[in-house]
């Protein structure tokens, strides 16, 4: 070996595989790109920046569909190949899982500006701290030269054979301009792969965008006007001239956004198991201590195994009343289900729920023929009275329901629940008055049991005394 005669060399970037072992067939030292294609140039600029920033091992390169779908043949880093247009969404998932990573989303103009428009817009708007390289070649390369959203007015492609008619197909979409109107992105620049000066500007932009991510600054994007000689049906030299003469006027070069200096680095942590915190949060959820046996002792046969329908208008605490009743029963070791009417059924101001209490596991949580109806307002009584099983119980709020139930084959308990609640100074406690009345009438559970349950399941204890009084007044109302 001779002595050192040469100086530093510019050569094969280390961040590109030395042999493209994933590339099928021969030629594993050359790319699959056409002669003069901008993708190859941009790959080199990115790889060389990765070398200099020493980020190769923590880089994740995302290749969505387009001519660069085989990015993973080349980049010697973590590689994720993804669906057409979706790279920014995938990048979001990766970057949030691996905040220390450097995530590159490398996208064509069909990919980013057509099928993936919503994904790029929202990733940019969320300020995902990723780096996007956007190759604008004004055409669909991979699929053989169809029109792209960036295709110029009058440009012929296989799907605009008479030239793009912008009145019919829209005008070239200016992505850098569009995204730079958003608050979150920190750096957006459009560059071109043409002459030496522009290539060196592109090189600086690539570095700056990656550095922005390394420094945790936020979302950056470099749009690259890039030749596709094959589909433009030009030689590489003509392609360069066409970029200068036609693409550049439609897509002016320059920095569209640069707030790098004023943005603080973001600090996001990788997700943790945090088991202590899990235990703490789970323990904070309301639960009841089970006591006793579900025997129905002391409860008349006709009141056992109740199928309860509770109905009223929104704001009357119908769902809460149901869940409290269910919890009281659960505390006594009964099997219970609670099922709300949800969606449109619960809109327009009405609310209802079903509670089933049983000594055996509950089969169906649906109550279509209730043995107990608690009605808090008139429409509820009207609607559900006909469904109550013969021999069932109707407990209703007689303050708000003037028309008494007409059924002769059921037990009817009228309770001026709202009036009693008003006396207590809290109209909304009418539900608890009604619950007290139902329990007193049937002898199912005592007021003390309700109180003990509320004590365990209510998150805020501020209303406990009032609630206790409302239940007690309900119990008293029927005796």
């Amino acid at each position: 070996m001779s002595t050192m005669t040469g100086g530093a060399v510019l050569q094969w970037p280390e961040s590109l595989y030395r042999t493209f072992h994933r590339k099928p067939g021969g030629g594993q030292e050359s790319t699959h790109y056409c002669p003069g294609c901008g993708h190859g140039v941009l790959h080199k600029l990115i790889a060389e920046a990765m070398d200099d920033l020493a980020i190769r091992e923590r880089t994740v390169f995302i290749s969505p569909v387009g001519c660069s779908v085989f990015g993973y043949y080349y980049f010697d880093c973590g590689n994720v190949q993804v669906a057409h247009g979706r790279a920014p969404a995938v990048a979001t998932g990766i970057k949030r899982a691996l905040p220390h990573s450097v995530v590159i989303s490398y996208q064509g103009d069909g990919d980013l500006a057509a099928i993936g428009t919503s994904n790029i817009l929202h990733a940019a708007n969320r300020g995902e701290p990723i780096t996007v390289f956007f190759v604008n070649n004004a055409i669909y390369g991979m699929t053989g030269g169809q029109m792209a959203p960036t295709t110029l007015d009058g440009q012929r492609t296989t799907t605009s054979p008479r030239g793009r008619d912008t009145m019919d197909t829209g005008s070239p979409l200016r992505v850098s301009e569009l995204l730079s109107t958003l608050d979150a992105p920190v750096y957006i620049e459009r560059v071109a792969l043409t002459d030496a000066k522009h290539i060196m500007t592109a090189r600086r932009a690539v570095r700056k965008a990656l550095k922005a991510q390394v420094e945790g600054k936020g979302f950056s994007l470099v749009e690259v006007l890039s030749p596709c000689p094959i589909n433009w049906k030009m030689d590489p030299a003509e392609s360069k001239a066409w970029i200068t003469d036609h693409l550049m006027p439609a897509f002016p070069l320059g920095v569209y956004k640069d707030v790098l200096a004023e943005r603080e680095p973001q600090t996001r942590l990788a997700p943790q198991l945090a088991l202590d915190k899990v235990a703490e949060l789970f323990a904070a959820e309301p639960s009841v201590e089970r006591t006793g046996e579900p025997t129905w002792d002391g409860v008349a046969d006709r009141y056992r195994e109740p199928q309860v329908k509770i109905a009223g208008f929104g704001g009357q605490g119908v769902l809460f009343l149901g869940s409290l009743l269910a919890n009281v029963a659960l505390r006594r070791n009964y099997h219970v289900t609670w099922l709300p009417a949800y969606g449109p059924e619960s809109r327009g101001g009405t609310a209802n729920c079903n509670v089933v209490i049983s000594a055996e596991p509950v089969a169906s949580p649906m109550v279509t023929e209730p043995s107990v109806l608690m009605a808090l307002n008139a429409p509820s009584l009207e609607r559900f009275e006909p469904t109550v099983t013969p021999g069932g119980v109707i407990v209703y709020n007689s303050t708000l329901i003037s028309k008494t139930p007409t059924r002769q084959d059921v037990e009817v308990v009228a309770v001026p629940a709202t009036a009693i609640a008003d006396e207590l100074g809290e109209t909304r406690a009418a539900n608890l008055v009604l619950l007290g009345a139902y329990l007193a009438h049937t002898g199912m559970f005592s007021a003390a049991e309700v109180e003990a349950t509320m004590d365990q399941v209510l998150k805020s204890h501020g209303m406990l005394e009032l609630n206790r009084q409302a239940v007690a007044r309900g119990f008293a109302a029927t005796t």
Partner: protein, 91 residues
Amino acid sequence: MKRTSEGEIMTVAGSAVEGPAVVIDEDLCKGCGLCIDVCPPGVLRQDSKLNHLGFHPVAYLGKWCNACGLCFFACPEPGAIVVVKPSRRHR
């Protein structure tokens, strides 16, 4: 051609290349000519022969390269061009 990862010694066919110089791997060149266009002193030209890929590769005239590196950045192929800068001793 042998590339060195040491980054200092460049040898072609066993002998060292002295910078400033450019080394073309004609088997990896796709003959697009982008390097020719950007070369300030114009020391690159297209060869008339065909390489194994079926392209006319680029060839270096053999002198007057100033190792500016522009051809390297303009070239789409990772391995087609190596630019050897002059060692400090030679400056």
